[in-house]
């Protein structure tokens, strides 16, 4: 057990928020980046909620069975790809609505995840190795906050990579063209259906890795309530981030940090109205949205054909 730790008092809130941002943000980060890619190609995938869930149970199960958490992450990504591909195929059928397909996928996928997850409730699967940046500090809070999952850095790198792909590569251009004006894109000889299929499939893989974080680091168990709406919220964050990967990163960090606000305020002695404090991330997001959106320059990065055929 550790020696008498220093406590940080009010600084604790800052540390808690920073720590919360670095662990709580990861699912939001991966799902919103995956959704950003999906939506840039012109499709919405609300089923991210269930891809997160399936990723979580797959990663945990594979890590438990094989003993290798990284294999778990890989398996989660593969399952995410499969679900993403299924969504892509479904939504490219004429007259199948994206939102409807997403919600049907949520029911189907959560059924599957719960069905196959039954045997993984009790065990403890091997967890992802952490990168320890806080060993210099004697304060337990700082040490723990700075014990960071490698997925955090991978997520940040991904955000910048995705930005680069969108702005600098021809494939990124194709994705954006498919999302903005599929007819024009077809006229340019772009195979819109294939571009979209690939984008949605990769998007699913990314989201599932976010799920792996839930079961292989924080909180590090499999429970049917593990996703708890985080996937849906991450989809909403993409709109908040105006379809920019780097803004997705910022939004995920902000939201992950805000999640830690309610509990840490209570642990510091602010005891009343805990429901409202716990809901503060949602209130904050709505407030920022209302304050920053205007009807004229709204949806700056919004793909022109989002959600349409």
């Amino acid at each position: 057990m550790q020696s008498q730790p220093e406590t940080l008092g009010l600084w604790g809130i800052a540390v808690a928020l920073a720590g919360g941002a670095m662990r709580g943000s990861i699912p939001y980060m991966f799902v919103s980046l995956g959704e950003c890619l999906t939506e840039k190609s012109g499709k919405i995938n609300l089923g991210m909620e269930v891809i997160l869930l399936m990723g979580a149970v797959t990663a945990f199960g594979v890590s438990d069975v094989t003993g290798s958490p990284w294999l778990g992450v890989l398996a989660a990504a593969l399952v995410g790809m499969t679900l993403g591909a299924l969504h892509a195929w479904l939504t490219q059928q004429p007259s199948v609505n994206d939102v409807a397909a997403g919600i049907a996928m949520i029911i189907f996928g959560s059924g599957l995840a719960f069905f196959f997850g039954k045997r993984f409730v009790a065990p403890m699967a091997p967890q992802l190795p952490l990168i320890d940046l806080g060993s210099w500090s004697s304060a337990g809070a700082i040490r723990s906050a700075l014990r960071i999952s490698p997925l955090f850095f991978i997520g940040i790198a991904l955000a910048f990579a995705l930005h680069w792909i969108f702005t600098r590569t021809s494939w990124g251009l194709k994705v954006r063209a498919a999302g903005d004006d599929p007819q024009a894109a077809r006229a340019l000889g772009i195979n819109v259906n294939r571009v979209r299929f690939i984008a949605i499939t990769i998007g699913g893989a990314l989201a599932a890795i976010g799920g792996a974080h839930l079961t292989l680091y924080f909180p590090g168990i499999w429970s049917e309530g593990i996703s708890g709406g985080q996937g849906l919220m991450a989809v909403a964050l993409v709109i908040f981030a105006q379809w920019s990967p780097r803004r997705c990163l910022a939004a995920a960090l902000l939201f992950g940090g805000a999640q830690a606000l309610g509990p840490s305020l209570q642990s510091l002695g602010v005891n009343g109205y805990y429901h409202l404090f716990n809901a503060s991330p949602y209130l904050l997001t709505l407030g920022v949205m209302i304050a920053t959106c205007t009807p004229h320059r709204r949806l700056a990065g919004m793909p022109g054909a989002l959600g349409r055929k």
Binding site: S95, F108, F115, F240, L283, C293
Partner: protein, 353 residues
């Protein structure tokens, strides 16, 4: 669209879905035919099981309308859950304040209050989208969480009945101030509200100028503006009407089922309503059918656990498979050779667009 097609295609999709689920069951070592028999028996096999189905379908009717009506004005609403909770809270607060009035009057006021609360909840999102450019999808989702937090704060705080020890709840309504049940059944009168609302919504959308204006505004904003339609007002009113339906669903939970406001207001009916609306292709009359199907599936969830020792999640697997197949079957309209000979329409342009 031919009438035969409209029936045969979804029916075929359901049969295909059931076959896939049968394979799933067979893979688990069960006899699929026995599983089908149980599902049928539990959901639709007798008047007794139909009652179970109807009870479960009842909230879905109103929650489906919450998405379907604004969809006609071009809004994707997913804030149903928040509107149910807001409506339930509105109904409970007003209902408790009017216990001294005659029951019919008090119930009417409750229903109106719930409709106003739910209506404003969704109309707010609609207004934000139209006037501020805040996506209704995101505001709806956020407002869902805020409604639940507000509800918890209220039923653990100002509204709390101190005798509701271990499950925070508001004070109860008196028995005569609750919605009654149909004689000889366990179906409450809330079902009528849902059925009537679906018919009214269909009439409004398909048979009135307002509904027509709403559809134009939902189809092409610019064209609607050119035609002199008040697009903003139409969108907000459509949101209000949808939200009013969900709010009414909350009132029915309070007045018919629980007799008070408690955390069961947040039971997921709102989220189910979104799916119901989309499966029904936003058609209020089809919502009735889809709600019945969903209610029946929910009603048979238990029998799979009790008779076949399947996990609780199995019914979600079945529901998911069926819903995916029904969605997918939309693709078949106008493509089946048997019907195509009589439908001279050109190929659906959706493929190209």
């Amino acid at each position: 669209m031919k009438r035969g097609e409209a029936i045969l295609v979804p029916l075929g999709a359901m049969i295909a879905g059931l076959l896939v689920f049968g394979l799933f069951c067979a893979a688990l070592g069960l006899n699929p035919l026995a599983v089908y028999a149980s599902i049928y028996k539990a959901g639709f096999g007798s008047w007794y099981s139909w009652q179970n189905t109807l009870v479960r379908a009842s909230p879905l009717l109103l929650c489906g309308l919450c998405t379907a009506i604004p969809a006609r004005a071009g809004m994707i609403v997913i804030g149903n859950e928040g509107a149910v909770v807001a409506g339930g809270l509105g109904a409970a607060t007003v209902g408790l304040a009017t216990l001294s009035l005659p029951p019919v009057l008090s119930l009417t006021i409750m229903a109106l209050s719930a409709m106003v609360c739910g209506g404003i909840w969704i109309a707010f999102g609609a207004a934000l989208q139209h006037y501020r450019g805040v996506s209704a999808v995101i505001s709806g989702l956020l407002l869902n969480y805020l409604a639940v937090a507000l509800m918890n704060q209220l039923i653990e705080g100002p509204l709390r009945d101190p005798s509701s020890f271990n499950s925070p709840a508001s004070y109860p309504l008196t028995p005569d101030h609750r919605l009654a049940y149909f004689a000889g059944t366990h179906i409450h009168h809330g079902l009528i509200f849902g059925a009537v609302a679906c018919v009214l919504a269909w009439f409004l959308i398909d048979r009135t100028t307002f509904g027509f204006a709403m559809k134009i505004a939902g189809g092409n904003v610019r064209a609607a503006r050119l035609a002199g339609l008040p697009v903003g007002r139409l969108v907000v009113i459509a949101g209000f009407l949808g939200g009013a339906c969900a709010g009414l669903a909350g009132m029915i939970e309070v007045a018919a089922v629980h007799g008070r406001a408690n955390e069961s207001l947040n039971a997921g009916y709102g989220y189910s309503g979104i799916l119901v609306a989309f499966l029904a292709r936003q058609n209020p009359l089809v919502i009735v059918l889809v709600s019945l199907l969903t209610g029946g599936l929910l009603a048979s969830g238990g029998v799979l656990q009790r008779e076949h020792d399947l996990p609780d999640a199995t019914i979600a697997v079945l529901q998911g498979i069926l819903f995916l197949f029904i969605l997918l079957s939309d693709t078949l309209y106008g493509r089946l050779p048997f019907f195509r000979s009589r439908t001279p329409e050109p190929k659906p342009h959706a493929i190209a667009a």
